[in-house]
Subunit: 194 residues, 2 copies
């Protein structure tokens, strides 16, 4: 059939816009990113972008959410919690240590502090799925009884976020390993089980 | 002696300005705070404030640093680490849960994300002494060998900061207690010592 399909055309434009956004973020950074540059790169009109998004922060958020979805959020389950957490925390620490990604995340953070609606979107669409993936993996592990798994997940991501935001120390593999070791010690049953 | 002492007069003005800043932060919040209002309240000219500080963020930072110094940063040492950490973490969680203080801290956070010099000042003058006070208390406790105490301190403050910034959950005494229990489990020697 050669009848044009508007839904499919829209979907193609949407994907081109988000892909252009990610490419430009890497090349020029968040501060210099403009809706005009995204439109030119994606081969659409600026009005197409403004029809679907109310500004730069919203497009960038969708671009990041799509990238996270494509990367896959499920944690591996090797049977050894430490091994699986090391993998995810080293990868997450490396993301925060990456200058381009870090700059984008800082810029988005500023916008979320000024815009509660965007903050809720970042939390629920970008952050929550990541936290939930770790929580899901924790559920299959043998842990101390009575733990609040939300708090356990924050024990991993909270210190990293604090260190990144406030620049209090290096963001290295060694750091990620130390963080995992502390969290593992926090959740491991105090006595050997039969 | 009735000879006027400029240094003493300056010190009196400085204190009046910082006290006025703290009073206005409580009454009107950071967003509506102006240098003019601080000057009027402190009984000084605006130019006096601009002679010592380059803007609102810098005055507010000094006001917060002075308040923290007056409150005293030393942790108690009852001999029981859990008791002492509960005290400091409940107090810190309550500070982040306080709407006026939280709004000020959020506003300062936005400014630190846009101003690296201010960020370094906040980190070194406001945050670091608080982290160091906890680190000092940890040094007198019996902990697992080989721990990085900077990471242990971040295990307490990081999750709280993450939860507060991203509004992922309640900030209550129960939350503070759970946080301390996890941290204690993370640092306690794995086997009973003689």
């Amino acid at each position: 059939m050669s009848v044009p399909d508007p839904a499919r055309r829209n979907e193609r434009s949407r994907r081109a816009i988000l892909e252009a956004t990610r490419a430009l973020l890497t090349e020029t950074g968040y501060a210099d990113l403009t809706i005009g540059a995204i439109a030119a790169r994606a081969g659409v009109g600026k009005q197409t972008i403004y029809r679907w998004w109310n500004g730069k922060g919203a497009v960038v958020l969708d671009a990041m959410v799509e990238a996270a979805e494509n990367a896959g959020r499920e944690l591996p389950d090797t049977g050894d919690l430490r091994t699986d957490l090391l993998l995810v925390m080293r990868a997450t620490v490396a993301e925060f240590a990456d200058p381009a990604l870090s700059e984008t995340t800082r810029a988005i953070t500023v916008e979320t502090l000024l815009d509660e609606e965007l903050a809720a979107q970042v939390r629920d669409r970008l952050l929550r799925p990541q936290l939930d993936a770790v929580k899901k993996r924790l559920r299959t592990a043998r842990l101390r009884p009575g733990l609040d798994l939300d708090q356990v997940v924050e024990l991993l991501f909270g210190p990293l976020y604090h260190r990144w935001m406030l620049r209090t120390g290096p963001l290295t593999d060694d750091y990620a390993d130390g963080l995992v070791d502390l969290a593992i010690a926090a959740v491991t049953p105090a006595w050997p089980q039969p």
